[in-house]
């Protein structure tokens, strides 16, 4: 297989986004659909390399060259089989993944990478439409019962794999709906929520039970959970946000990104929200230049913010790769997210020093310009600035799972950075308890979450049945970076 000259014949054609002006007016996904002919051609740009760096770059180990080639030959159903073999939720990753595969693509050296993520999404959507995504055949029941705590991508992937192995799986979710970060952390303009619901019907049909509104450690104790099940998978996420430690932090109008996004998502979903955070007409500042910050940015625009400024602590990265950041590593370059494309200002190398306001309400943010000296940020003399602000969203990352009850009730050991400590087989220090996803590795990519869920499920199944029955993504050959 392989189309060694496809890349010479067909230019890269990434999916086109709807015009910024149009899309900020609604909450729908930002991309336009693509016709079937271009899709095949894009697959034909893949060279089916002797060393597919993309396949290593993908934490899931997606068999990217295989399905690229199949798509280019119009063998969509075979492509689906190959994709489904490594990725439980390609319709999620196809929308949400930052695509480290593409930055590792060999074409990315001196050309434009194959549009892998877009092809993945198209395979997934084509397959849903064609009815190829059906519940997997149920295995003979093992009689073992497994609890999965948390229903984000790691929990769902783990649950699906374990159910397919014939175990009795119950997913516990403290929120009122299943989906975790996917549901309440991701705005609809990046992924509409029916995408989750569609997948959940499959999981349900495969025998996964869901219990929402149950906060383990609270409503039921960890001990109870353990005694009710043969094994427990912790997929709690890393929900503890990094806080801003400056004078004035207590002023009203300073919110965490996740609180902001959750409320917005609920509103979009049509829920009644008692304490909404609305950016309409307000001057918004977002601290944090990452993906969450961008999601807040897009949300603020759609809510009708008067202005939005996104502040990044680090200096702006270069336009192209620096010498010490060679291919195929994750490129540390200046990027513009779809939300950033829609408007707002970006400030780099800016460190917030204090917040001031009156009447308990935030009015002004004070900061100083900084620069990197020997790997450390130092203030630039005379670089003090200040901004008027009504709503300050803190999107500065996460420090780990909320684990108080976990350590108290179960005695699970943590890593120095506050995540759940596990061995290579995802087992925690407590027998019968495994951990996966952000809870284990700290906030990370959705692909890592799904990959962990799958690998943890394999380890749990092996422990429960004595046999390695579930698939694995195989060995890593890491090239540094990401």
């Amino acid at each position: 297989m392989g189309n060694s000259d496809g890349y010479l014949k067909h230019p890269a054609s990434p999916a086109s986004r709807r015009p910024a002006q149009e899309r900020v007016g609604d909450w729908n996904e930002i991309y336009e659909p693509r016709g079937p002919v271009t899709r095949g051609e894009q697959g034909a740009r893949c060279m089916d390399c002797g060393i597919p760096f993309c396949h290593q770059g993908c934490p899931l180990g997606n068999r990217i060259p295989d399905w690229n080639g199949l798509v280019s030959r119009d063998r969509w159903q075979d492509a689906w089989r190959a994709l489904d073999d490594t990725n439980n939720f390609p319709e999620f990753t196809g929308r949400l993944c930052p695509a480290p595969c593409e930055s590792a693509c060999t074409l990315a050296i001196s050309d434009t990478a194959v549009t892998i993520e877009q092809i993945e999404l198209e395979i997934a959507e084509t397959s849903w439409e064609a009815g190829w995504v059906t519940p997997a055949r149920r295995r003979r029941a093992t009689g073992k019962s497994v609890a999965v705590v948390g229903s984000g991508p790691a929990g769902l992937a783990g649950a699906q794999q374990l159910a397919r192995a014939g175990h009795d799986v119950t997913v516990y979710e403290k929120a009122d709906r299943i989906g975790g970060l996917l549901r309440y952390g991701i705005p609809d303009f990046k992924m509409e929520k029916w995408v989750i619901d569609r997948r959940l019907t499959q999981l349900t049909a495969e025998g996964v039970s869901f219990r929402t509104g149950v906060a383990v450690g609270d409503a039921i104790s960890w001990g109870e959970l353990q005694s009710d099940h043969d094994a427990v998978l912790l997929a709690l996420g890393a929900e503890r946000p990094r806080d801003l430690d400056v004078p004035g932090r207590d002023l009203g109008g300073v919110v965490f990104a996740m609180d902001y996004l959750e409320r917005s998502n609920r509103l979009v979903a049509g829920d009644a929200v008692t304490d909404p955070i609305d950016a309409a007409g307000r001057r918004v500042v977002i601290l944090g230049g990452g993906d969450t910050g961008s999601d807040c940015l897009g949300t603020a625009h759609r809510q009708g913010a008067a202005s939005v400024v996104q502040i990044e602590l680090m200096p702006a990265p270069p336009e192209t790769r620096a010498d010490d950041n060679p291919w195929p590593r994750w490129p540390l370059v200046f990027r513009t997210s779809s939300s950033q494309q829609e408007g707002g200002e970006r400030e780099f190398a800016t460190m917030t020093t204090k917040l001031t306001g009156s009447g308990g309400r935030l009015e002004r943010l004070h900061a100083t310009r900084v620069e990197l000296v020997d790997g450390r940020l130092v203030p630039v003399p005379g670089g003090e600035i200040s901004l008027e602000v009504d709503l300050l969203v803190l999107a500065m990352g996460f420090t780990g799972p909320r684990v108080a009850s976990l350590t108290e009730q179960l005695g699970v050991e943590l890593t120095p950075r506050g995540a759940v400590a596990t061995d290579k087989a995802f087992a925690t220090s407590v027998p019968g308890v495994w951990a996966a996803g952000d809870a284990k590795r700290g906030a990370s990519l959705i692909v890592w979450a799904i990959a962990d869920g799958r690998e943890a499920a394999r380890a749990m199944d092996a422990a429960l049945t004595g046999q390695a029955r579930l698939p694995t993504k195989g060995a890593d050959a890491p090239f540094g970076g990401i």
Binding site: M1, M47, I51, D323, G474, F479
Partner: protein, 1515 residues
């Protein structure tokens, strides 16, 4: 005199020899001194075809066979008091005996005992006078006592006496061996006959007569003398292997020896001969193992002959002509060969064999005609035949005819009938002895004629994929192998080598087939081009019982025949149901039960073998071994294990020839698999799962073909692949390939191999049946085990061809590539450390043999600052041979710049070098000379520091290559001296290296042209490479390169990348061991390459014996290569392996990247040297004591491997050097050109033209080469004006006359030449005509040899006479006129003009992609001898063509005075219509396009509207 036993990595069975042969005979049988003396003179003049070892006075062997000189024996008998009876009433035994008196007495007693036991009488013993003083020290040390024994004939008719003497000899050999009377193995009966006597020994040709004063006696007379001068790859002092043997002397090599010997063993139960009184058991072994191939051939021939067939008849059976596809062959003769193939498989390989029984003397050539044999018949009734012409000086007026043996042909002299018998007559007699045609019609059943039976329906869907899983199939098998085979009917191509672990180090449960590597021909025999020389190849196969080789009855050929050894399902069903005639088929299951105990596999194999033996005893003559019926509880026995075990069991029983083996298996999918089954004795294979898979691919729409077509394509691809596998070993027919076991095993237990793969080398031991059982179960579990994935339609990823996370380990993977690039781009030491750690880390179990080794640090490390410099180390580094063409100019020049800056060396590869690079930093100091000879001319050769002869390359040893026309750009065409757009083919062999003495000749040629350059020879690791390297050292090369099979960057069929050749560790260690053992190491440097990446690799290479190190892949990666492995598609996205300008622009490499790589590498090497206590790398060469096998390996397979043979040291005195210390002696000071250069010095310096005259002899080789080298050094490729230096020669020129002759030099020879005339002709002119006084008709006689104008780039050649085989092979620019040629004329030609004024042999213009030939064809039969694949034939209609031919004829007449040319020119108007123009189709098209383009250009410049330029042009 026994060759040493196996030790270390050395395998005695890999010994080779080759040589010069010759005979002289008086047709009327007149005995004389002259014949004996001429025989000895002939021998002396063939000295240069023999060799000496480290002791220059000890030859490899020489000898002479003469008729029993009765008066001589009568006289010497009288002196000793014997009563020698009348002529033919006694036999003479020439015997080597032990020096130890007691041992000798015991052996002599045995002779007496046996002679008497057989009813004959010993008349007495005579000490043969010898002069040991003429011997070299090595030969003298092991000199036997030479004695003659005279045996009187009693109670036997004269016609049976020779047979009786044979029985006596066999019994003597056996008895002495059995009683252990001669522990050194000195005893050897050179001859025991009433007809002939052999004088031979470990001598040089000129020592022979001095050593044996007998040969100088006045009454030592004979009518025939057969002589032999030996060139052995080794110098083990073996007196007995000198030739002539008893009936033959042999120049060449038997490739299928192991199979031939096995089949002899296998037909034991069938061998009956009334002539020997029933079975032959008491004379076993018929074929004495452990002797040379020539000796074993002689063993077989004498048995066939003494059992009742004439010598020519026996020769025809053992070395049949290529009868399968020859439309010109007489039907009766074809029927004879066809019939005889049922009795005996061919002994296949290049061979010129002279044979005699004392009355009849003759010679024959193998079907490929790969050895030279020239004959002269004199008007005084003598016939002289020899490897070279001119070895005996015959006055021109005495020459009646001159000729050469043609492929497969025979020449006979019957001294009793007193006449010469030529091929047709000799063979007509034999092929009409019985009505073979009728016998065949009646008894041979063609498969197509059998009643068809429908097979069960093919597998589909999950059932199919479950079975694929159970048999170890992967997704890659379908995607990368089966799909292209079923779609295109050919094997897929890959690039950049294999970097996966050996099977025994793999955790992927690889199939048993992967534990074996294909062997290939290098140096001592040539591989064949199965496409261009298809006429010698055959896959024909027959099934059924074989017959008694000694009988000739109609029933012997009762068998089923088919065109190739693959059975479709329908054919197998048909076969199983067929019950007519004597065919009885039984099917035996090759499966076992999952729940059987730990010895399940062993029990199953034993049971299968018993069942097979019983079935044969019960009369079944077709055994089908089948793995049908695999299910959740039933595991397949690996089909190769089952088949080979059954084959060997039946061979041991001696009943193997009573049956045929058919294998019905789901396991096989690759060509390699099927080749292995056949190579281990199977008759035909039904690959039912592969066929079902091909069908499924079509039915599922993966390939857009009808299911039947997909299956047919698959079978066709397998057929082509099999031809390739056979031909890379130089084997032509399936009949002789079957059972020949042309494989080496790596990683299997020695006992297992000894029992079930008997005779196959397995030098490092390895896993046995328990581990194979475990692997079978692992594969079975993929289909029936607990894994959920088994229900998926997806197969396991495989990952052998492309890196995959779940697949096989690759040493080049994302980590190693990324860190190496990061390290060399930015001089990033941290990344370099990451790279070397990842590259060396094999913590999860070793992936290479060197990974299993650990360095032994010195007790006293050396301070780092005392270790030699980085520069000194880099001087030993070079980059690999990658041609401009395979890689872009940018990449090629970057490598050259980097290496020149560093003081290392880069390599041109096989593609020439652009002349502007000659003088500057972009020059590659190593210039390669490969089989295609592209751009290899005098100026290229003199601009080199090293000339490298590429005998084989790691990616595809034994194969040729092809650069498709679309890649031949203007620039590449210019440097390769060819036409843009025209495909360039590299032949599999060098057409001037078919054996070791040929290699010596090419080395000499290159050395003559450029004495300052060292000459190196590149070999690929395989069993026996050490022995070849010894031959290379004796051939006077200055460096030998041992390439591992795992490296290799070139494009190649996947099966070659994966399955041919061995890791360098084995080849290097073997080379060091054998070279040191033979004291040949001191005169040659050893270089290793093939996947070297780190300092650890380099140091281990040094410790195993290398002084120098080659790198290819790693430097390419520093330049941006990312292992796309698509080099063959011209689409390299990083601008390295491409000529597309759009892509070469992307090339981002820089010399600094390469420089950093080698510098950091050398720095690391220094650190390891300090650790090992060495100040210089030289101190480490061959120091295996600084290596040990790691003791922390507990991998379940790797721990079974025994690496101690790798670390063995030759047991030699301290005085024997273990690295290169002395210079090779080439004897150039005596070269004829020295004189010419002196005489022409002024002309060379630009002075006035000079004309010279010189006599010349066959010992004057490569005349003109040195003069041309000098001229090219002074004046470059353009040379001097025509005729600046003209030389008239008279006599017989030696090989390579006029090689690389430069522009401005003209040679006119009156006489004749040997092979390789005008090799690499570079612009000079050569003319050859018979000497004055000649009586024969020149245009009817051969006056020049084989392989003329090989690789010529420009110049002219005029020959008033005929040439041998392969005239103008790979000519790319020379113009030539000749008056008749042999087979394969103008093969692979890419340019130039050839005019043939007489007959041509077969296969004219095969692979000819450029240039033009004009052939005089008065009887209109030329088209039947022309290979039409690439050329078109036309009459001469174009004005330009007519003028061209006429002008060339006029020049021919002017330079040679050819009567033939005069006749044609005198009748030009009439004769012109008898010429045929032969022009390659592609070339024609390219020329037409070019003309059109020029016309357009002209018109554009002339201002004419472009539209009119688009009109079609004529012609």
């Amino acid at each position: 005199m026994r060759t040493p036993d196996a030790w270390g990595l050395y395998e005695p069975q890999t010994e080779h020899d080759a040589c010069g042969i010759g005979f002289i005979a008086h047709i009327r049988g007149t005995k004389s001194r002259d014949i004996v003396q001429d025989g000895l003179r002939l021998l002396e003049r063939l000295s240069h075809r023999g060799a000496t070892g480290s002791d220059p006075l000890t030859g490899d062997g020489a000898g002479i066979l003469v008729q029993v000189p009765h008066r001589f024996f009568k006289r010497v008998g009288l002196e000793l008091g014997f009563d020698i009876p009348r002529r033919r009433r006694y036999g003479v035994g020439q015997v080597f005996l032990p020096q130890d008196p007691d041992q000798r007495a015991a052996c002599e007693a045995v002779v007496k005992e046996i002679v008497e036991q057989e009813g004959q009488r010993v008349i007495g013993w005579r000490d043969v006078p010898v002069d040991p003083d003429v011997l070299g020290p090595s030969a003298r040390k092991v000199m036997p006592v030479v004695r003659q024994v005279y045996v009187a004939r009693r109670r036997v008719v004269p016609s049976a006496f020779e047979r009786k003497l044979y029985v006596i000899r066999k019994l003597i050999e056996r008895t002495i061996l059995e009683r252990g009377l001669d522990p050194q193995g000195s005893t050897h009966v050179c001859s025991l006959s009433a007809e002939t006597v052999v004088y031979k020994g470990l001598l040089t040709p000129d020592q022979l007569a001095r050593f044996y004063p007998d040969l100088g006696a006045d009454d030592m007379v004979s009518a025939i003398a057969m002589v032999h001068s030996r060139f052995s790859t080794n110098t083990f002092p073996t007196w007995d292997l000198a030739q002539p043997m008893r009936f033959t002397c042999h120049n060449g090599e038997i490739n299928t020896l192991r199979g031939n010997r096995n089949w002899m063993q296998a037909r034991r139960a069938l061998l009956q001969s009334g002539k020997f009184g029933g079975t032959l058991d008491r004379m076993l072994p018929i074929i004495v193992p452990g002797k040379s191939d020539s000796a074993q051939f002689d063993n077989m021939l004498e048995l066939l002959h003494l059992a009742g067939r004439s010598l020519p008849h026996s020769m025809m059976m053992m070395i049949p002509e290529a009868f399968e596809g020859d439309p010109h062959m007489d039907e009766a003769r074809r029927a004879f060969y066809d019939y005889s193939s049922a009795l005996m498989e061919p002994w296949d390989g290049p061979a010129a064999i002279a044979f005699t029984d004392g009355h009849l003397i003759g010679a024959t050539l193998d079907r490929n005609g790969l050895r030279p044999a020239r004959w002269t018949i004199t008007t005084d009734d003598r016939v002289i035949l020899a490897s070279e012409t001119g070895a005996l000086d015959i006055p021109p007026e005495l020459v009646a005819r001159k000729g050469r043996l043609q492929p497969g042909r025979m020449l006979l002299v019957d001294t009793r009938e007193q006449r010469l018998i030529e091929d047709d007559e000799a063979k007509a007699d034999i092929s009409q002895r019985f009505p073979y045609e009728r016998w065949l019609r009646k008894n041979e059943v063609a498969f197509a004629a059998l009643p068809v039976v429908q097979p069960s329906p093919p597998l589909r869907g999950m059932e199919l994929s479950r079975l694929q899983r159970a048999h170890g199939w992967t997704d890659e098998d379908l995607r990368i192998l089966l799909e292209p085979m079923a779609r295109d009917g050919k094997e897929p191509t890959g690039s950049m080598g294999a970097d996966t672990p050996l099977a025994v180090l793999s955790d992927m449960a690889p199939s048993l087939f992967n534990y074996f590597k294909q062997l290939f021909a290098q140096v001592t025999n040539p591989p064949i081009d199965p496409i261009r020389e298809q006429l010698v190849m055959s896959l024909r196969t027959s099934l059924g019982a074989g017959g008694n080789t000694f009988d000739e009855t109609p029933e012997q050929c009762h068998r089923i025949t088919m065109p190739l050894p693959i059975l479709t399902d329908r054919e197998l069903a048909t076969l199983q149901a067929f019950e007519e005639g004597a065919f009885e088929t039984v099917t035996l299951p090759m499966t076992y039960r999952l729940d059987d105990g730990p010895s399940a596999l062993q029990d199953a194999v034993d049971a299968l073998c018993r069942a097979a033996v019983d079935s044969v005893d019960d009369g079944f003559n077709i055994l089908v071994l089948s793995d049908k019926g695999v299910d959740a509880r039933t595991v397949p026995i690996p089909s190769l294990l089952a088949a080979s075990a059954v084959h060997q069991a039946l061979v041991r029983e001696g009943t193997r020839l009573l049956t045929s083996l058919v294998v019905e298996t789901a396991e096989v999918r690759e060509v390699h698999h099927i080749a292995m089954l056949l190579g281990f004795g199977v008759g035909a294979v039904n690959p039912y799962l592969a066929l079902a898979s091909a069908r499924a691919l079509a039915e599922d729409g993966v390939i857009d073909l009808a299911p039947e077509t997909a299956q047919e394509n698959y079978v066709a691809a397998v057929g082509k692949g099999l031809l390739k596998v056979m031909s890379k070993m130089g084997i032509s027919t399936m009949e002789s390939y079957r059972g020949a076991q042309i494989f080496e095993c790596i990683g299997l237990d020695r006992d297992l191999v000894a029992r079930h793969f008997t005779g196959t080398p397995t030098r490092i031991g390895g896993i046995g049946l328990p581990e194979l059982d475990r692997e079978a179960r692992i594969r079975h579990a993929r289909a029936f085990g607990p894994e959920l994935a088994r229900d998926s339609a997806l197969l396991p990823v495989g990952g052998r061809y492309q890196w995959r996370r779940q697949g096989e380990l690759h040493r080049w993977n994302p980590t190693t590539v990324a860190f190496l690039q990061a390290a060399t781009r930015g001089d990033d030491r941290q990344a370099w450390r990451e790279y070397t750690e990842a590259a060396d880390a094999e913590s999860d179990g070793p992936a290479t043999l060197r990974g299993m080794l650990a360095l032994v640090p010195a007790a006293q490390p050396v301070p780092l600052d005392e270790v030699e410099s980085v520069a000194a180390i880099i001087a030993r580094f070079c980059t690999g041979a990658m041609s401009f063409g395979s890689i872009s100019a940018e990449a090629h020049e970057t490598l050259a710049l980097a290496m020149n800056k560093l003081g290392g060396r880069s390599n041109t590869g096989e593609g020439g070098e652009e002349s502007p690079r000659f003088g500057d930093q972009r020059r590659s100091s190593i210039k390669q000379v490969a089989s295609g000879r592209f751009g290899v001319h005098a100026a290229y050769l003199v601009n080199a520091d090293e000339l490298q002869i590429k005998v084989a390359q790691g990616a595809k040893p034994g194969e040729g290559g092809q650069l498709p026309g679309h890649k031949v750009s203007e620039r590449i065409a210019a440097v390769r001296c060819s036409t843009p757009g025209v495909t360039l083919i590299s032949p599999p062999p060098h057409h001037d290296i078919y054996s070791i003495e040929d290699l010596a000749q090419l080395i000499y040629d290159l050395k003559v042209v450029n004495p300052r350059a060292r000459v190196s020879v590149k070999l690929v690791s395989e069993v026996g490479v050490g022995t070849i390297a010894a031959g290379v050292s004796k051939a006077r090369a200055e460096c030998v390169i041992i390439a591992g099979a795992s490296g290799g960057t070139g494009a190649s069929p996947q099966s070659s990348i994966q399955h041919a050749g061995l890791p360098w560790e084995l080849g290097l260690a073997e080379t060091q061991q054998v070279l040191v053992q033979n004291d040949l190491r001191s005169r040659i440097r050893v270089q290793v390459d093939g996947g070297l990446r780190t300092a650890r690799d380099v140091v281990i290479g040094a410790l195993l014996g290398a002084e120098e190190f080659g790198f290819s892949t790693a430097p390419l990666i520093t330049l941006g290569c990312i292992m796309l492995r698509r080099c063959h598609e011209n689409t390299c996205s990083v601008g390295i392996a491409t000529q597309d300008e759009q892509l070469t622009e992307r090339f981002a490499g820089d010399p600094e990247h390469v420089q950093r790589f080698f510098t950091m590498l050398a720095e690391d090497v220094r650190e390891l040297m300090a650790l090992l206590g060495a100040r210089t790398l030289d101190e480490l060469v061959g120091r295996v004591d600084r290596l040990r096998v790691r003791d922390d390996i507990d991998h379940w397979k790797a721990r079974a491997v025994d690496l101690s043979p790798l670390l063995a040291r030759a047991d030699v005195p301290e005085s024997v050097h273990t690295r290169q210390m002395v210079l090779q002696q080439h004897g150039l000071q005596n070269h004829l050109d020295q004189e010419l250069i002196t005489a022409a010095e002024q002309a060379l310096q630009g002075g006035p033209p000079v004309a010279l005259s010189r006599p010349i002899h066959n010992t004057d080789r490569t005349v003109g080469g040195m003069l041309s080298g000098r001229l090219a050094t002074l004046h470059g490729a353009h040379g001097l004006p025509t005729d600046t230096i003209s030389v008239n020669f008279s006599g017989s020129a030696g090989q390579s006359f006029g090689a690389f002759l430069a522009p401005g030099i003209s040679f006119a020879l009156r006489g004749e030449t040997n092979d390789y005339l005008g090799k690499g002709l570079s612009g000079g002119r050569i003319s050859v005509r018979p000497p004055d006084g000649t009586r024969f008709v020149p245009e009817d006689n051969i006056i020049i040899g084989n392989t003329v104008l090989y690789g010529a780039t420009q110049g002219e050649l005029f020959v008033n006479g005929r040439a041998g085989e392969r005239f103008a092979v790979r000519n790319s620019g020379a113009r030539a006129v000749v008056e008749g040629i042999g087979d394969h004329g103008c093969e692979y030609m890419t340019g130039g003009v050839v005019v043939v004024l007489g007959p041509t042999g077969r296969n004219f213009a095969a692979g000819m992609s450029g240039g033009v030939a004009f052939v005089l064809d008065p009887d209109g039969s030329f088209h039947t001898r022309c290979n039409p694949d690439m050329v078109e034939l036309d009459t001469l209609v174009e004005e330009g063509d007519m003028t061209l031919v006429e002008e060339l004829l006029e020049a021919h007449l002017a330079h040679t005075g050819s009567p033939q040319a005069r006749r044609i020119l005198d009748n030009w108007e009439i004769m012109v219509s008898s010429f045929i123009r032969v022009m390659p189709t592609e070339y024609k098209r390219v020329l037409r396009e070019r003309r059109a383009r020029k016309r357009r250009e002209f018109l554009r410049l002339a201002g004419t509207p472009a539209a009119s330029a688009e009109e079609p042009t004529h012609g």
